[in-house]
Symmetry: C2
Subunit: 349 residues, 2 copies
Amino acid sequence: MVSAQRATIQDVAVLSGLSICTVSRALRNLPNVSEKAHRKVAEAAGKLGYKPSSAASRLAGGSTGSIAIIAPTATAWFFAQAVESAEEVFADGGHDTVLVSLRNNADVRSRVFADLAALRQRVDGVLLLNVDLDADEIDALAGSGLAVASVGMSAVPWDNVGIDDEHAAWAATSHLLELGHWDLAVLSGRELGGHSVRTSNNRLDGFSRALSEHDLTVHPDLVVNAGSSIEGGRSAMTELIAHRGLPSALFADCDEIAFGALMALREHGLGAPRDVSVIGIDDHPMSWFLGLSTVAQPVADQGAFAANLLCERLQNPEPDHPPTNHFLDTKLIERKTTRRKRRTDKNHD
Amino acid sequence: MVSAQRATIQDVAVLSGLSICTVSRALRNLPNVSEKAHRKVAEAAGKLGYKPSSAASRLAGGSTGSIAIIAPTATAWFFAQAVESAEEVFADGGHDTVLVSLRNNADVRSRVFADLAALRQRVDGVLLLNVDLDADEIDALAGSGLAVASVGMSAVPWDNVGIDDEHAAWAATSHLLELGHWDLAVLSGRELGGHSVRTSNNRLDGFSRALSEHDLTVHPDLVVNAGSSIEGGRSAMTELIAHRGLPSALFADCDEIAFGALMALREHGLGAPRDVSVIGIDDHPMSWFLGLSTVAQPVADQGAFAANLLCERLQNPEPDHPPTNHFLDTKLIERKTTRRKRRTDKNHD
DNA sequence: GGCAAAATTGTAAACGCTTACAATCGCTCG
DNA sequence: CGAGCGATTGTAAGCGTTTACAATTTTGCC
C-alpha cells in the first residue's frame, strides 16, 4: 500500500485514471465531480494512503491544515484546559494546532497582531482565548482572511463562546453581600503583562454592579491587580493587607488567585472565613479540597465548543450566517471560605 | 516599506541586484556567498520586510519553520509548564510550535508515531515530553530525519534533559523510611491511557531500591496506578483504602496525585500526617500551602533547556557530536505531611 | 436525431522557495 | 600573459498543490 516515497496527487491521478485536477476537486468535495469520479478517487487515495501535502496546498493557495490557538499564557489552569480540549477537536478534524502563548507580554502580543498576513500564511484559522483586543485589532483580524473564533470575548464579529462573566462575578459578589459583608476587595486579573483581559474586565463590572445594587461603590484601593496565577494572588493579597488592611470579604477573579490569597492569609496568621470571606470563579479541582466557595464554569466545554465552531466555519466558508455568541452556564458553589459576617469579626473602621 | 502584497525572494533579488539563488543562500547563511552580497541581501530584505514563505520553503525541501511538542497530555501541571517554557524558546528562535497532545490515549499515540513521514513534512523537529517509547519507535524517530530532543527520557539517541527520577523517588521514599515507616504504598503515574510514562517507571525503580536498601520489598497491592492528575490520585487513593486499607506512608508519583490522595483521605475522615505520611514530587505551587512534603524539580528549566538544545541542533545539523543527557537538580523539601511513625499510629497487622 | 446548455474533465500556469549544474569572475603561477 | 583553479553567482528545473480556462462529455428538449 504505502510506498517508501509519499504518494502524491499525481499518483492518485494515475491510479484512478483521472486528471490531477479532478482528483484535487474530488478530494476537497468541490462541486462538479461525478459520483463515479468521486469513488474512483477515494479508492485510489485509500489504496495509496495518500495524504495531501499541506505545504504544497498552502503554497498554491489552499488550506494550511493548521489552526493557531492564541492564549495569554499556557500555564494557567483555565488555559491549559481550554487548549487541550480545543486541540483534541482540531486533531480530530485533521488540523494541526499551533500554540501561540502571549506569555503575558505586551510586546509578544503586538508582534503577533502586527503581522496577521504572516500568520495567515501559516494557519487557516485562529482560536482566541480571552484576549482583549482593541477595535483596530478586531478589524484587522476580521479582515485578515483568517477564520476566527474565540472563548471569553464579546462584541466580536466572529463566533464566541464563554460564560456570562459579568453575571458570574455579580453572583459571587452578591453572595458575599448577602452574607452581610460590605467592605469588599477584588483581586482582579484584568491586567496581565501590559494587556488587559476581557473576562476580568467583565467580572469587575459584575462586581461593581452587585455593589451598586447595595448602594455601595467600589473603592480603588480595594481592587488590586493579581495577574492570573497563584503567585499573583499571593502577592496581591500581601500587598492589600499591607497597604489597606484586611477587607471583610474578597472576590478573586479566578480560583488560582483565591488560592494565592489564602496562602498570603495563612502567612499572616489569618484565615478564611474566620478573618475574611473569600470567593473565586472556576471551580478548579483543588477548590473543593480547600473548601473554596466559587462560581463553577465548564472550561473544557468552552474550548471544545469554540473549536468546533471554528472547524465548521472552515469546512463551509460560504454561508455567511452571522457570528454566534454562546453562553455556558455557571453555578455558585458555596463552600467553607465564605460565611455570614459576625458582629465579632475583626474589621477596621 | 511593507507593501500590501507580501515580499517574495524575487523582490529581494531584484532590489539587491542579485539572483534569487544567491539571495536564498545568503539568507540561509550558506557558504560561498561574498561579504558584499550578504550585506546587499540583508539590506534589501530588511527594507522589504521580507519573511520567507515557510510553505514554499518546505515544499522545496527546506525547513518548515515549526517544531512539534509531543506530550502525554497538556493539562497536567508539569506539561503545561514545560510546554510554555519550550514554546517561548521556539518562538524566540523563529519557530512555530505545534502542540500534539497524546491525550493519554494509546490510539492517538500510535497514530502519531505510525506516520512520522507525515510529521516530518510539517515540522523540522520534535520535542518529546515524558513519552515512553519502545525500541522500534525510538529507531523510527531517530531515522525519520526529524531533529529530536526530549524531556524526561533516557537511553535515547538524542539530547535529553530531565531529573534523576530514580534518585528523586529514592530520596522521597528514603525520607519516609527514615521516619520509621515501612508499610509504604505508591500512587504511580506510570500508566496513562494505555501507554507508559518513562519518568514514572524510573520513579518506581527508585522506590523499590529504597525499599530493598531497608530489606523491604514492594508488594503489588501497594502500587496503584493513578494516572497523573488530581482526580487520578483521588480515585487511586480511594481504591487503595478500600481494597487494602491504609498504609503507613504514601509516595505519590507527583504532587497532583498527592493532592488527590489528600482529598481522598479527607473524604474518609483521615488526614496526613496523622493517619498516613504523604510525599510527592514536583513542588507544585500549591504544595507549600498544603504543607505537602515533596521533592522539588525545576520544570520550566527542563522545557526551556531541551528546547534550546533542539534549536541548536536545528541551526547546525552538521556536527554530529553525540547526544547529551542532562540532569537537573532536585531537592527534598520536608513539610507537614510526613512525620515520624509513632507507636500510637493506627496500622493494621 | 441534433443542438444548445449544463455538467464534467483536462491543460497548464502559477505559488515561492531550494538546489543541481552551468557560467562567470578574480587570482595565482609557470 | 594565459591557463587553471577556486570562489562566487546565475539558470532553470523541480517540489505538490490549486485554479482559470479550455476541452469534452452528458443531458434535456424539440
